[in-house]
């Protein structure tokens, strides 16, 4: 019996015997996006948006789904990534990769430092403190007009072509090439997360999720693991944020606002927060719905709110969670 429970817990890991066909199909679909998305009535930028927000949701889910600790402040690290990349491109360098790296580092380090202050809290208190700390960055971006453009957001930068010597990839104007750039970064980030989760570290996180007290009695340094998981998820969110700034050539103070944190969490929950890939699916559904609803009505906020309520009341396991039940209660 205990092995059955153990195996079910380990089902959450991204790699297992019976998961590879699904994963392979997913990657195939992601690689073929420029072919099938226009045919399905979308456009490649929308797919890029879904991919970037999906990465943020997967980053958040590294914490939420694998340690059970819930952060409602991840928009801050997402937004810091966006501003880091934007400021770097605007004032310092013409290198897209360097900007991406700076954004990731800025958001990730901020998350790591603040994370150390809050890892001891749990439950709603943890959520409250993460929101409150996250809002600090929103107010800084909002008030520091001369640097960040304040309420209007940071404009006046554009992603630059990638290039080494004479070999240049023009991701600046070619949407398809830029999508593949996003996908490459996405692959590296998710690969790193999957690698982390399949290591003893990842199994320890699941042990904490399953029974924190027992993990503590076994002598596992619970706080340190949660802090590390928080840090990893902040780095991933910051990467996603930096990509988001590159995608839009714009950094918006609302990317730092806690309402985006809520949206990232609902993406993760809607897709299935107990699964590795669920948040990506949730993000895709969310982005498409938001795009569609906001094109037909000005009251799109009500519909998004309704989506929150419906997911919570009727689909708490999320889309992949329902698929993956396999008879389990």
């Amino acid at each position: 019996m205990s092995t059955a429970i153990g195996e079910r817990a380990l089902d959450r890991l991204p790699v297992s015997r019976y998961k590879w066909p699904g994963t392979a199909l997913l990657w195939l679909a992601l690689l073929m996006v420029p072919l099938w998305v226009p045919w399905a009535g979308g456009y490649v930028e929308l797919a890029g948006r879904a991919l970037v927000l999906g990465l943020a949701a997967m980053g958040l889910n590294f914490l939420l789904g694998f340690t059970g600790v819930m952060s409602f402040g991840h928009a801050a690290y997402f937004g810091l990534g966006a501003y880091g990349a934007g400021l770097m491109l605007k004032y310092v360098t013409g290198s897209t990769l360097l900007a991406l790296f700076t954004g990731t580092l800025l958001g990730g380090l901020a998350g790591t430092i603040l994370g150390a202050l809050i890892v001891r809290r749990r439950g709603v208190y943890f959520a409250m403190v993460t929101i409150a700390y996250g809002q600090i960055f929103f107010y800084i971006a909002y008030r520091w007009n001369s640097l960040t453009g304040g309420d209007d957001g940071l404009r006046g930068f554009a992603r630059q072509p990638l290039g080494v010597g004479s070999w240049v990839i023009n991701i600046q104007n070619n949407a398809t090439l830029f999508y593949y750039f996003l996908l490459a970064v996405f692959a590296i980030a998710t690969g790193a997360m999957a690698f982390r989760l399949c290591s003893p570290f990842g199994r320890t996180l699941i042990a904490i999720l399953e029974n924190e007290r027992r993990a503590r009695y076994l002598g596992l340094p619970v706080e340190r693991h949660i802090w590390l998981a928080f840090s990893v998820s902040c780095f991933v969110c910051a990467t996603a944020g930096a990509l988001y700034a590159l995608l839009n050539n714009f950094a918006d103070p609302m990317t730092l606002h806690y309402s985006l944190s809520g949206e990232i969490v609902i993406m993760a929950v809607m897709g299935g927060m107990r699964t590795f890939w669920g948040p990506l699916l949730g993000a895709a559904v969310f982005v498409v719905l938001q795009d569609y609803i906001s094109s037909i009505t000005v009251n799109w906020m009500s519909f998004i709110g309704l989506l929150f309520v419906l997911v919570v009341l009727f689909f708490p396991r999320g889309l992949l969670g329902i698929l993956g039940q396999r008879g389990a209660p």
Binding site: R120, I136, I266, I304
Partner: protein, 289 residues
Amino acid sequence: MLQLLLFNVTNGLIIGAFYVLMALGLSIILNLSNVINFAHGNFLALGGYLAYVLSPYLGFWGALVMSPLITGIVGFVVERLMIRRVYGRDPVYSLLLTFGLAFILQDACRYVWGTQGLPLTVPAELAQPLSSTLFFITGYRVFMIAIVMLTIIGLFCFLRYTRAGVRIRAGILDLETVAALGVNVGLLRSFNFAVGIFLAGLAGVLAGGQIGLNPNMGDSLLMPTFIAIIVGGVGSLTGTLVGGLIIGVAAALTTMFYPTAADAVIYAIMAIVLLLRPRGLMGEEGMLT
């Protein structure tokens, strides 16, 4: 200089009074139901708008009484229909639920009453300044502080001396035992939620008279309210009271000397408090942490 200082301290106390009223409502819901009500600011706006609708018929005074009551009833219904279903589940669901409610309520207010701000007229006898040198002390401000103080005293008396209040306080400490003693815990939580929303509605009416009504009026109050609760310590209503006043006065004093940092200073206070006392000023061991 003294006048300026007085002006800002008065402003701070008034803002702090709003924070306290909102934070107390949020806090009693959080304590008993373990739910962070993101929609609290939107219930506040709803209370204000209801007063705007009711005041032509009932006058300001009638609206001041009726509007929070109706808001409280709306809160009761919402709790019965939705919030109740997520008790006992992972807390992430209750947060997402109230998050969605906040979106819906805000959009509904905008749909019904428009994006433009609306004024809520207060009786003329309250609108005039009480003194010619200290022009900023209007009757309305004094009245507001008085109402907030009366409400707080009323709330603490309610929690201490009535049967329902005692049960709420007992439920905060140990809900299971209270249920085992034969109390209808579900109804108690609904009632408690309604009381919290009532306080939000009252704050909405008072705020409407001071700063006018708009669909987003609760949003700017929500974060300082969170911080007031964190600084005061989750689980302690006295702490929330103190936290709200500290935050209000600190923000006002910073506005006087260095306006751009007014938002930042309350976060700085929170960070310092959390570093020195991780449970907040009056937070208790083992409560919701």
